[in-house]
């Protein structure tokens, strides 16, 4: 119960502090929306010229992308402090959490919501979903809706787990920006395309290392059944919603081990 009230108060504070600068908040939300749309616009322009990419048409690609945006919108409303964790360490703000009688990850997860990013990504995700979901031949029924919901939750857990994992790396390295930019930001961008277009190395990373393939590609395959699914084990489609739980737990254990290092070195 106490935890819920802290969460509610923190969320209220995040929203209200962003709303202090209304014009800026509006401009920033639009900027995020436009920035994220850039990839979509490029794909749209590219497919005007090339029609399909490995058998996927423009609507199917938009659907694939929409899952990334929707999950990320939830991820940043929960995990924003973990996304920016290396800065928190550098500025010494992590010390504050250590002198409060609450779990560290709990405080990090609920402390701060990036309202702007959440809105920007969320609106774009909803827009893409609305534009594509009806045009890609999905039969929306109880089973598919349940599967889709599970996949979204799994996708949030996968990305939250990745953020926790990278945050834990900050206990070992001063600067983790470049690792995060490769293994989170870039991989996320690459996951917007069907992974079957990539070479073996990139596919392996996206399936087994930073499993973005389970955030959008395999869930989308359950609903779309494109021929390139033949390259992968059919089971991947069905375990997709559960991969998140595994990734999250693994990341949590790694965090537990790593946070001890902070006590011995400080920042």
């Amino acid at each position: 119960m106490g935890e819920l009230r802290i969460a509610a108060q923190s969320l209220k504070m995040s929203v209200r502090s962003r709303m202090q600068y209304r014009v800026d908040a509006l401009v920033a939300t639009i900027a995020v929306f436009v920035r994220e749309s850039a990839n979509i616009i490029v794909i749209y322009l590219a497919l005007l010229k090339f029609d399909v990419i490995n058998g996927w048409n423009v609507n199917e690609l938009l659907f694939l992308f929409s899952i990334l945006f929707l999950t990320y919108a939830i991820v940043v409303s929960l995990f924003a402090d973990l996304r920016d964790f290396s800065r928190m360490i550098r500025e010494g703000r992590f010390d504050r959490l250590l002198v409060r009688p609450r779990g560290l990850l709990f405080q990090l997860i609920l402390n701060n919501a990036d309202v702007i990013a959440s809105l920007g990504h969320g609106l774009l995700g909803i827009l893409l979903f609305v534009l594509s979901a009806g045009r890609v031949g999905i039969q929306w029924n109880l089973v598919t809706i349940l599967y889709y919901t599970g996949a979204i939750i799994g996708g949030v857990l996968i990305q939250g787990g990745i953020f926790i994992f990278f945050s834990a790396l900050s206990f070992y390295f001063v600067e983790t920006g470049s690792i995060r930019s490769i293994f989170y930001w870039n991989m996320r961008k690459f996951a917007g395309y069907p992974i079957s277009i990539y070479n073996r190395l990139i596919q392996t990373i996206l399936i087994y290392v930073v499993p973005f393939a389970f955030v959008n590609y395999f869930p989308a395959q359950y609903l779309l059944r494109k021929p390139d699914m033949a390259n992968y084990n059919e089971a991947y489609i069905y375990i997709a919603p559960f991969v998140g739980v595994g990734v999250y737990l693994a990341a949590y254990l790694f965090w537990r081990v790593s946070v001890r290092r902070y006590y011995s070195t400080g920042n």
Binding site: I6, Q9, S10, G92, R96, L98, R100, P101, R102
Partner: protein, 323 residues
């Protein structure tokens, strides 16, 4: 007096990467990095009793903050032990921190864009403060610190002194028995400093709160503390009362002279080494003096002299004083 803090031989060494100048060194350190060991805290021990107010002073980088971090459970010592109120801070973090309050003077925990009251509400939930106690403390603290006029203003619009008062309240709302204040008066004006000192004294008197604080301002120490611990280069070099340190230096006198030609000179000396008689004789013989005054050294000056190595706490001059 019941002991609340027992610190025994704590050490904290850091490895610091060495950066040499020049392009060749820059390329070299990509592959082979050299480290230096910095002894932030080097074998410090002390005991503090329940209800004491203890001031920690020392020059920048002396190890004050590192010591506070070890006491508050943020760092664990490389060697030695810390026991506070039956807890080992870095081992039983969650249990231990329920009963302490920490203010980092240079790092606010208040939400920058919102009124103070919002950050206080969050503390209420985090520390599970009963509503009654919360209201009572908030009312009392804001009266004592004159905070009512700005409780509902966004923190970014507050002066540094107002913000610091907010930070102190946020750290004390849950009525901790032990409070660490890391430079709570840094950069504040005289009025704000005085408010904070009064408040610290009040909390100590009425609630028997044990208070440890670090500062650079000797006034803080003189007006608030019973006891002073001086740390320099990672070592404890003094631990005792303010009066004691003053007494130690009563043998030191400072002479200020105004010369006939308008020049001013000052000289500090130890009367056990050079008695007043010989100093004055020498001065009168050598200079044309218009005015002369003899003063006791200020505590500020003493501390400065200790840091700068001009006074040694165990200097031969101190022999026979019983310290």
């Amino acid at each position: 007096m019941e002991t609340i803090i027992a610190v025994e031989g704590i050490r904290k060494y850091y490895k610091v990467a060495k950066r040499d100048r020049g392009m060749r060194a820059a390329i070299g350190q990509l592959f082979n990095r050299k480290y230096e060991v910095k002894k932030a805290v080097d074998d410090i021990s002390f005991m503090i009793g329940r209800g004491e107010i203890v001031g920690f002073i020392g020059p920048n980088g002396a190890g004050k903050s590192t010591t506070i971090k070890m006491l508050s459970g943020i760092l664990y010592p490389d060697a030695g032990s810390v026991e506070i109120d039956g807890f080992v801070p870095y081992k039983q973090r969650k249990q231990y921190v329920k009963n302490i309050g920490v203010v980092f003077g240079q790092k606010s925990q208040l939400n920058w864009d919102l009124p103070l009251i919002e950050s206080f509400e969050l503390m209420k939930f985090i520390y599970k403060i009963p509503q009654e106690q919360y209201e009572e403390n908030l009312k009392l603290f804001s009266e004592l610190l004159d905070m009512e006029p700005f409780l509902r203003q966004p923190v970014r619009q507050l002066s540094l002194g107002q913000r610091m008062r907010g930070d102190i309240v946020a750290a004390l709302l849950h009525s901790p028995e032990l409070v660490f204040l890391d430079e709570p008066t840094i950069g504040l004006d005289v009025v704000a400093k005085e408010k904070i000192r009064e408040f610290i004294r009040y909390m100590n008197k009425t609630r028997k709160t044990t208070i440890i604080f670090t500062t650079h301002d000797m006034q803080d120490i003189e007006k608030v503390c019973d006891r002073l611990i001086i740390i320099d280069k990672g070592k404890k070099i003094y631990d005792g009362s303010i009066d004691e340190i003053k007494n130690k230096y009563t043998n030191f006198k400072t002479i200020e002279i105004l010369l006939e030609n308008g020049g001013k000179e000052t000289e500090t000396f130890d009367i056990r080494v050079t008695p007043m008689n010989s100093v004055l004789q020498k001065l009168f013989a050598e200079k044309h003096i218009k005015d002369i005054s003899i003063c006791e050294p200020e505590i500020d000056g003493i501390i400065r002299d200790i840091y700068e190595g001009r006074l040694l706490l165990d200097s031969p001059a101190m022999e026979g004083t019983g310290v």
